[in-house]
Symmetry: C2
Subunit: 363 residues, 2 copies
Amino acid sequence: MRSMNLVDSWGQACLVINQSLPYNSFNGLMKINSKNRKILQQSLSYRTFSSVTVSAIATNEKVVMEKEEFNFKVYVAEKAICVNKALDEAIMVKDPPKIHEAMRYSLLAGGKRVRPMLCLAACELVGGNQGNAMAAACAVEMIHTMSLIHDDLPCMDDDDLRRGKPTNHKVYGEDVAVLAGDALLAFAFEYLATATTGVSPSRILVAVAELAKSVGTEGLVAGQVADLACTGNPNVGLEMLEFIHIHKTAALLEASVVIGAILGGGADEEVDKLRRFAQCIGLLFQVVDDILDVTKSSSELGKTAGKDLAVDKTTYPKLLGLEKAKEFAAELNGEAKQQLAAFDSHKAAPLIALADYIANRQN
Amino acid sequence: MRSMNLVDSWGQACLVINQSLPYNSFNGLMKINSKNRKILQQSLSYRTFSSVTVSAIATNEKVVMEKEEFNFKVYVAEKAICVNKALDEAIMVKDPPKIHEAMRYSLLAGGKRVRPMLCLAACELVGGNQGNAMAAACAVEMIHTMSLIHDDLPCMDDDDLRRGKPTNHKVYGEDVAVLAGDALLAFAFEYLATATTGVSPSRILVAVAELAKSVGTEGLVAGQVADLACTGNPNVGLEMLEFIHIHKTAALLEASVVIGAILGGGADEEVDKLRRFAQCIGLLFQVVDDILDVTKSSSELGKTAGKDLAVDKTTYPKLLGLEKAKEFAAELNGEAKQQLAAFDSHKAAPLIALADYIANRQN
């Protein structure tokens, strides 16, 4: 008896079948079970047919395949393995070692890889393959990591704990932490520009511009500047709160999705729909972050909890109350899903599940 | 009597002639002076015919033109005006105002614009026009400015004075200074990707990668990390000193030249020669910086002088003695110019003069 693990992306799954089984065995599979043949044929036609997971066991020439609903846990686990491997290989330790170690310390600290997954899922939804967007998926995670390292600095949010570990400057010193952030920021563009495969230069260039825009004064930096300016001010209104969230959090989530769609070969109207989807889940992400800060402990979050309250920071729970904040989160999730209605529901399953995950996450 | 200012770039100069003089006047010029006709014809053929400046005075149908040697002062003044105008327009003050003001404070603080000029000169040397490389020229200056802002931070070199003015964090605070650097870094890539004109996406993408490489762990960041690690260590050798200089200073100067050549449409062998030219003047730049630190006052430099000595930093004058350091600088300048020998000497005049300027500058 021979077992095959086919839970990797569908492109790879088909490759495993073709490589592992001789032609007769493959034919045998087709003869044994017409339902399975249909599933396999679909998988061959749609490399992003992710709403089905298949477990196959080959016994001599007998293969059993099961159709299941889209399994988000399996999807996330598979994508995280691919992304972590790509990130690990993208930045190796070389001279000077300390800066590379500092970059890797934060980059490989077990983040949830939400942004890379959004990037890959958007790419595959519009017909691209994982290779088209993997460099971009790594790039958005590098940018995200850089923003965390710099935001945690003593002159900014002054945080000691991140993802359950001491923050970068606590381990490597403030000077190296600033430089590790700078290097990650620059390398994100280098990696996107040089390691993207199977995409035209013009599309990669649009992706470079989209990524850059999400970092600067129309993205992360604008959000952090406004956030710092509002800290300690109890009179921050809903409009300013939304400005902060849209820039500090939503901009990079939006870029992750949009870049994936661009690199996957998406048509303009597809990219537009996915942009609006991403804007909704981007704001949703931060609303949930605000909620978690008041409902969870530091150990549950892996970072300092209750910090918003401690510094009298304006948050959605503070402005709207906890229940209304939760309702607003649900509305945003609904709006996000509406944007996906025009796509094939099987193909859109990963993005739908990612939106639900962002809405319902516990840390 | 009508006078024309033709000291702008040659592309613009020709435009002035065509727009200012009726066809007859233009013909008149050709008839009057066959030598002038030749100069003007050359200027029309070679938009980068920068080794000649022309002043033309039209008196009815009579035009007098003079051929002069390449005037570096005029060249630098013209290019600086163009670059400063482009930088001023690239980053306007908008919401949130403080971060844009902080970015502009350092970006428009009267830098010498050596990197943008190298970029433009390399572009024009290989046959490109100023428009092809102006966005890139701004981008390299944004990166340079970002590295100054971050290097001046208290957790790094802790400098209070830069270009004769209080450093960015002294005016805007450390948090905003970190973010202004981040925003300049990201915007450099956005501007290069979106504001470059008349160049194919594939060449722009190569330029993006080249620029990014010059910032991270193969460029500025590597140099600064090694520099910080060596500060206070009196036993730093020549090899490490060169590592620091090549990464901290030469990498971005190299990128400036190479990107200009790529965007100007340079052939591979032209780009290679200009890369080697840039590597020489890059190292030269820092050797001269070391020399100036021990020979000039703070007011002459516009930044804290004698600082290297005060912190017992290893420099070329310290390792080689002042005279040998000056000889080394002269050798590097000679090597740089050798790389330009294959180019038309008229067209190469700006780069030759820029190398001399870097070798002989007084601040």
